[in-house]
Amino acid sequence: MSNSFVDKKQVCYHCGDVCNQRVLFDEKLFCCDGCKAVYELLKDHELCNYYSPGEHPGVSPKLKNFSGRFDYLNDPLVSDKLLQFKSENLAIVVFDLPQMHCSSCVYLLEHLYKLNQGVAESRTDFLKKTITIHFNPAQTGLRELVELLATLGYEPLLNLRDLDSRPQAKSFNKRVYRIAVAGFCFANIMLLSFPEYFHINHFGDASMQRVFSWLNLLLAMPVLLFSGSEFFITAWQGIRAKVLNIDFGLALSITITFSRSVYEIVSGTGAGYLDSMSGIIFFMLIGRYFQDKTHYNLQFDRNYKSFFPISVLIRKPDGSESSVALPQLKVGDTMVIHSQELIPADSKCLDEGAMIDYSFVTGESTPIRIHKGEIIYAGGKQTGPIIACEMLRDVSQSYLTDLWNKDTFKLERNREESFVQKLGRNFTFFLLLLSVGSFFYWLPVDSARGINALTTVLIVACPCALLLSATFTQGAMMRIFSKAKAYLRNARILDSIASVDHIVLDKTGTLTNQVQSVHFNGTELNEHELTLIFSLARQSHHPLSRGLADKLSFCSPQSVQLFNEIPGKGITGVVNGYTIRMGSHAWIAGSTDYQGTQSAVYVELNGKLLGYFEFRKQLRTGIREVIAKLKKKYTVSVLSGDNDSERSELESIFGKDVEMNFFQSPHQKLEYVKSLQNKGHKVLMIGDGLNDSGALQQSDAGISITDDVNNFSPACDAILEGREFEKLPSMIRLAQVSKRIIQMSFVISLLYNMVGLSFAVQGALSPVVAAILMPLSSITIILFTTGLSWIAYHLLFRNAAISTVVRA
């Protein structure tokens, strides 16, 4: 964030970053050639409106040179799968562009037709972060489009899963039609019932009342048949599955109301209760619409394919390189893997210098040094320089996908009935008892009154009250959780989270974040020695050297002579007359039977071994308080795929009474959760990697922690942003509060019901009373639940928010 004191001239005109190297063009300053190139492009096509507001909306293109990188898109097998539609003159493609962040992005992306003649139209959806491009396949192709987008800084996010046909996301909720029809009819029925309410029939025309009643009947038909159909369908599905769900009570109530009204109107004995019936359908549909909020740009159902990249760089026998789509790879192909790229298939390492980070796959937190000729498994990330490797097994047959496809990972999540369902069912039974009871009570005295009581009890006191409480509370809670950067898959998760009693945490990536911390083991280093080490380290591009240089950047760099970097071993040089060597244990200390961490950087000064630097992932901020709070109410345990070198550090935070298991395989994690559940516990699992997938599936509620929501996160019920980890106890508390709110509002609705029931059991419920009670109780419930949810949010999270501001 630039503040006003920063000299505006020092900031890149395109992307707003501070300029380390100054690139001047057209009297404007840019931070790199990439930004300058984008500016040139926009200027040539008169798209400089992009820069209008004076801000720097540009996204810095990270790659200046795309040669060959998108070649795989020329392959028709690949491009056909990516296209939504293809004909001779028109093709439609949808890309995910997570870099979209402002109105300038929308402007530029919708003017792509100016930059590429083949584009007919491009339309963005900002909330979903997608762009839909209509183009002429005869004039341009997918590769040109992707290259154009990448040049502008908006490289599409493509992974292996996109090669499966993309599901057409239904963005528009059909329920809106039903709500519109129900609302229209409800309002008109009430209006036409006014004479009935106020007994304005002294104008003599008894036929007027009859006309109005028939009109009401006519208006009620679409409500019953069209708007209310979803309740009947769900109720029927429940009956077929031999379960009486809450929609059954609702469907029963609607049916009875309608039948009773039809009888009254046709026989001319009364006006019916059609206003209550259409009103309740209207309010219920609004509640359901409100509750079913979806997070469009997040995917909660991931399989291993969304983890892998869509293409890989291949080195052909003649030495040239081109990119090929992953499914087209054959065993024996030579893959070229750059730094920070994923290994897509089990392969044999052909170069030295492979440092593979398996943290996502196995949970090991430090990268492993792989030597030439050894196997690298799919899913690992290369943290060293460029290496080549030879593919040994197909992607779908790698160790990783084998793990994934084991039956244990494809569990059907069987959820227990939520407490709302149980409560609703009990309530329906009670009502049925009450209505039948009052029927038999009145039968000997006045059978007409008996029938009256039978039906009106069910009309006035349907389980709608409970349903409304649940839908509006859950709808409000979904939005509140999103605001707190926890994205729930659906509202039913709230109940699961509220009822857990045991919390299981993964270590790597969940308790730790991406930031590295560096420790030195050995003889104490003085400032002079640190300066020497810093000067040497900054000469190399190796990630470990860079990490070291970053931490020591307070030193003033000296010049280095005779610098030499040996891949897979280390670096050496002469600084101020001192000879320094830094690198792997094998190279510096010479012994081959080394048991310690692989990413240790040993330091030797003038032939004397000083010690080694160790890189560790930092624990997330606030973790002590979080664990302390959680331990008060829940049993906590830690499962890690990593080694137990950090056990003592974790014990100081968790306490010695917390169970910690290390070296856990993904299968072992799942078994652990299962064994807890067999003992009757409800388990909440928090993890982040593929090695947690099984456990996340098996647990009663699974939360996936991520530092970048666009990255892969395994199949889970909720996604929590890593920065918000401190809010975890508040979130669990909020889920429990939502249960309380539902119960409280149900009690309120019971009070309304009692008033109505007191009329109904006497057989004296008039349409007017029903028509007043129903919207009154509905609106009260809506206001109560929504208001109380937001108050709970402010009370629970406001304190946390203040403390983060203070700390910042």
Binding site: E46, N49, S52, C102, S103, S104, V106, Y107, E110, Y113, K114, A120, E121, T124, D125, F126, L127, K128, S171, F172, V176, Y177, A180, V181, F184, N188, L192, F203, G204, D205, M208, V211, L215
Partner: protein, 59 residues
């Protein structure tokens, strides 16, 4: 009071026509994305040759 029959007989069809208009406009898809238009309108399209481009493009 027969006037009321006429009134109701006319007003309900008119109201129904509005309902149909709403349903039809919702079906056309313009409400699918209700956020992006708010960003789109922050930019003016350039005048002159851009206008003719827009007219042919929006067909």
């Amino acid at each position: 009071m027969s006037a009321i029959y006429v009134l109701i007989g006319v007003s309900i069809p008119i109201a129904a026509a509005f309902l149909i208009a709403f349903l039809w406009s919702a079906k056309s898809g313009q409400y699918d994305d209700d956020y992006t238009p708010s960003l789109r309108m922050l930019r003016d399209d350039e005048v002159k040759q851009d206008q003719t481009d827009n007219q042919t493009e929006k067909s």
